[in-house]
Subunit: 424 residues, 2 copies
C-alpha cells in the first residue's frame, strides 16, 4: 500500500477498535479495583502552566517536558504526570472533603522523549492517591490495591513482585554517616542509579561523600534495622495474605525528589522489564505547591498502560483472561435479517424496541442479498440472527454459533425471548 | 481563602469527584447507546500535525486552533475535532474491516477561544461515524442513535428537536439559479448565517449572487420539493416511531465546508441555547484526506459535554434521572468498624476477602474512636457498617439508612450475607 498522505506524529498512537478494547479492558480493571477500595475518580487538565512542574520536580523533568508557548504567550506544558495537578487542586478544594481522601484518576500524560519500544510520547496513567493520612496503614492500603489490581488482571503469585523500600532508612544512614541534607539527597540519587552504573562513575561520587560502594551495598543487602513504617506495612500486608507478593529491597528509592517515606515499585518476576508501576509517600509536596498554606500527608501510586499491556501479553494466564474478557464483549447481540423488502419498516421498528431494551442490534442498511446478510451477521459477531420475512410476525431465529434454528413470533415478549437465548 | 499559588489555565476545567461523576454518567450513556447500535470504540491522538486540519477545513478553523511548534520544530495542534484524524486513520486501515464501519470515539478536543459561558478551551466530544454506506438509511440510523441518546439521558418528546436539512437541496437551488460552484458554496455560508445576521450585510451579499432575501426565505419556508434522501430519512424515522422528534428546517446547513448531503442539529425545544449537537453526511472528506486514494462515503455526528450538561441541568426530568443514577453509585458498600484494636488483622483480612468478591470496602486507617468510625462510614456513603469486636467471629451489622442492627457470624458465607443486605 502506498504511504498515506497524513501520518500520526512520532510517538503518538492510534487506537483501532481492537486496541481500544484492550485500553478499555485496562481502564475497566483500574476503575473496578479502585471502586472496591473506596476510591472516587477526579480529573485535571491535560495542559498546565509549566511552572507547576518545575516547582514540583525541582527542574528534574525539565528536558522531557512537552512544553510550548500558547497563543496568549503563556509557558505551558502537556502534563508529564498528574500528581502536581492533584496538589494544585487539593490546595484549592481539600477543605470541602473529610479526610482521608481516596481519589483516583485515569488520563493521558505526555513526555517529549525519543520514541522507542515501550516509550511513547503519550501514555495513559492510572493514578491512585490516599491523602490526609500519615499512618503507614495508608501505604499498606495502597500497596494492597496494586496487588489486587495485578491479581484482577490475571497475574498470579510469582508473576510479579513488589519491591519495597523506605527513604527514611537512607536518611538515618546518612545521618549516622554525618552527611548534610544536600549530601543525603545526592546519596539517594546515587542509590537510585547503583544497579545501572554503566559508566562506573558512582564509586568516585560515593568517595566524595566519604562512603564506599561496599558500605552502601551492605546497607542494601544486610539492613541493620528496617524502619517502623516498613515493619507496619509488612505486617499489615501479612494480615491480608499479601506478604508473599512483596520483597524488601532498599536499593529502590524512586528517582523523583518529592518522595519522603515508603516507596515501592512493581516488577515482572524476572525483572526483565522496566518497572511496571511505582509509588510512595510524599508528605511535603502539597505543602510545597501551596507555599505552606496547606499541609497534607499523602501516598500515591501510578501505573502506565504501555508496560502493563506488554507484561499481560507476555504472561499466558493474564493474556488468556484478557482475551476471554474481550471475546465476551461483542458489538452485536442480534442481527436482523430482512428476507422480504416489504417488511423493512418492521425491521426498523423492531430494532428500536430491542435497542431501547438494552440489546445491541445491527442490520444491513442498504438492500443486501440474503446470504450476504448472514455473512454480515457473522462479521458483526452477532450471537443471534433473526429473520424477518413475508410471514411476519412469525419469524425464525438462527443461533449463529450452532446454526440451530427456532421458530418464534414477534410480539410483546420478543425482548425476553431473545434475552433468554443471549444468556445461553 | 487566599488565592492558591497555582491555578488551572483559563478555559481548562478541573473535575472534582462530583463533576467527574457527571462526566462519567455522560460517557456511560454515550457508550451504552453506541453499543446498542452496534458501534465499536476507537481513539486517535490528541496532538496531530496542523496540516491535517488545514487540509480538512480549507483553513476555516485556522484562527481557533490550539496550535504550536513542538521541540522537533513541527507545526502541531491540539485537536479541535476528531473527524480529520478518523479520515487519516481510515486511509491507513479501512481495508482491514468489512463495511460499513460503525465506529465511535469519546475524547477531549481543544479550541483557543476566549473562555466564556458554555465555551471552554477544552471539551469532551462523543463522535459517532458510519462509514462506507452511501444509502440514506445510514443517515437515518445515525439520527435515530442521537434520538435514543437524548431519551436515554432522560429527555422526553418535546424537550428537544432535531432540525433536519440537506445540502443537496441548496445545490439544486443554486443550479436552478445558474450559480457557479463557488457561488453555491457562498450561498451555503449565507444561509448558515441568515438567522444571525446582526450586521444586516446578507441582503447585499445575496444581491451579488443575483438573489434576494425573500427568495431564499421562501426556499426555506416553502420548499418546492424535498430531496429523495430527506424523504428516505423521514419515512425511516417514522417506522421507528421517531418522526415527531425531527423537523425539516432547510436553514440548517452546518458551517463546515466538508458536509455533502443530509445535515442535522439538535436543539433544546425553546431553541434558547446554541445547538446541542450536530452532524451530517461527508462523502468527499476521506477521499480529500487521502489525495483520492481511498473513497468512502460517510455520515457522522458529534456531541460535546458542556452544552448537554447545561441542558440536562435545565430539564427537570433529565436532571432527576441523572441525580438518581449518581446517587446509586456509592464509593462504599461496607464500612468495617473496629471495636477492638486486637482485631485489626481480622479487619484487614476481611477487607481483602470482600473486595476480591467485588464489594467496595472502606475502614479507618489509623486508630479512631468508635463514634468517629460510624461518622466516617456515613461520610463515605456506606450502606452497611460491620462492627468487628472482641467477640469475633461474631459481629454486628448496622444498616446505615435505617439504623437497624443484625447479629451475624463472619464465616465463609459472609460475602453472600452482605450481598443480600446490599441488594435491599
Amino acid at each position: 500500500m502506498a504511504k498515506p498522505v497524513f501520518q500520526s506524529l512520532p510517538g503518538f498512537r492510534d487506537f483501532r477498535p481492537e486496541d481500544c478494547a484492550v485500553r478499555n479492558y485496562l481502564f475497566r480493571n483500574f476503575r473496578e479495583v479502585a471502586r472496591r477500595y473506596g476510591f472516587v475518580e477526579y480529573e485535571t487538565p491535560i495542559v498546565e502552566g509549566t511552572e507547576l512542574y518545575l516547582k514540583k520536580s525541582g527542574g528534574e523533568l525539565g528536558t522531557q517536558l512537552f512544553r510550548f508557548e500558547d497563543q496568549g504567550g503563556r509557558d505551558v506544558t502537556l502534563r508529564p504526570e498528574v500528581t502536581a495537578s492533584l496538589g494544585r487542586l487539593l490546595t484549592a478544594c481539600q477543605r470541602d472533603y473529610p479526610k482521608p481522601l481516596r481519589w483516583f484518576e485515569i488520563g493521558q500524560c505526555f513526555r517529549y522523549e525519543k520514541p522507542q519500544a515501550g516509550r511513547t510520547r503519550e501514555f495513559y496513567q492510572f493514578n491512585v492517591d490516599l491523602i490526609g493520612e500519615p499512618n503507614a496503614a495508608a501505604d499498606a492500603e495502597l500497596i494492597a490495591l496494586t496487588i489486587e489490581l495485578m491479581r484482577e488482571l490475571g497475574f498470579q503469585k510469582g508473576d510479579f513482585v513488589i519491591r519495597l523500600s523506605d527513604r527514611a532508612y537512607w536518611q538515618s544512614f546518612a545521618e549516622a554517616k554525618g552527611l548534610s541534607e544536600e549530601q543525603a539527597a545526592e546519596l539517594l540519587q546515587i542509590v537510585d542509579k547503583l544497579e545501572r552504573d554503566k559508566e562506573g562513575t558512582l564509586p568516585a561520587k560515593l568517595e566524595a561523600l566519604g562512603l564506599t560502594v561496599e558500605e552502601v551495598q551492605t546497607a542494601i543487602k544486610s539492613p541493620s534495622d528496617l524502619s517502623e513504617n516498613l515493619n507496619t506495612v509488612l505486617s499489615n500486608l501479612e494480615a491480608r495474605g499479601m506478604r508473599d507478593d512483596v520483597e524488601v529491597d532498599l536499593s529502590i528509592v524512586r528517582g523523583l525528589a518529592y518522595y519522603t517515606g515508603v516507596v515501592f515499585e512493581i516488577f515482572d518476576a524476572k525483572k526483565s522489564m522496566r518497572a511496571v508501576a511505582g509509588g510512595g509517600r510524599y508528605d511535603s509536596l502539597v505543602s510545597a505547591l501551596s507555599d505552606g498554606k496547606v499541609d497534607l500527608p499523602a501516598v500515591g501510586f501510578a501505573i502506565g498502560d504501555v508496560v502493563i499491556r506488554d507484561l499481560i501479553e507476555k504472561t499466558p494466564h493474564a493474556l488468556e483472561k484478557m482475551q476471554a474478557a474481550l471475546k465476551a464483549e461483542t458489538a452485536c447481540d442480534v442481527f436482523l435479517v430482512l428476507a422480504d423488502p416489504e417488511k423493512q419498516s418492521n425491521v426498523l421498528a423492531l430494532a428500536s424496541t430491542l435497542r431501547t431494551a438494552g440489546i445491541a442490534v445491527s442490520y444491513s442498511l442498504s438492500p443486501t442479498k440474503f446470504a450476504k446478510q448472514f455473512k454480515a451477521a457473522e462479521q458483526a459477531g452477532a450471537a443471534l440472527a433473526l429473520v424477518i420475512g413475508a410471514e411476519f410476525p412469525e419469524a425464525s431465529l438462527k443461533i449463529v454459533a450452532t446454526r440451530e434454528e427456532v421458530k418464534l413470533t414477534i410480539d410483546g415478549d420478543i425482548k425476553q425471548t431473545l434475552s433468554q437465548y443471549l444468556k445461553k
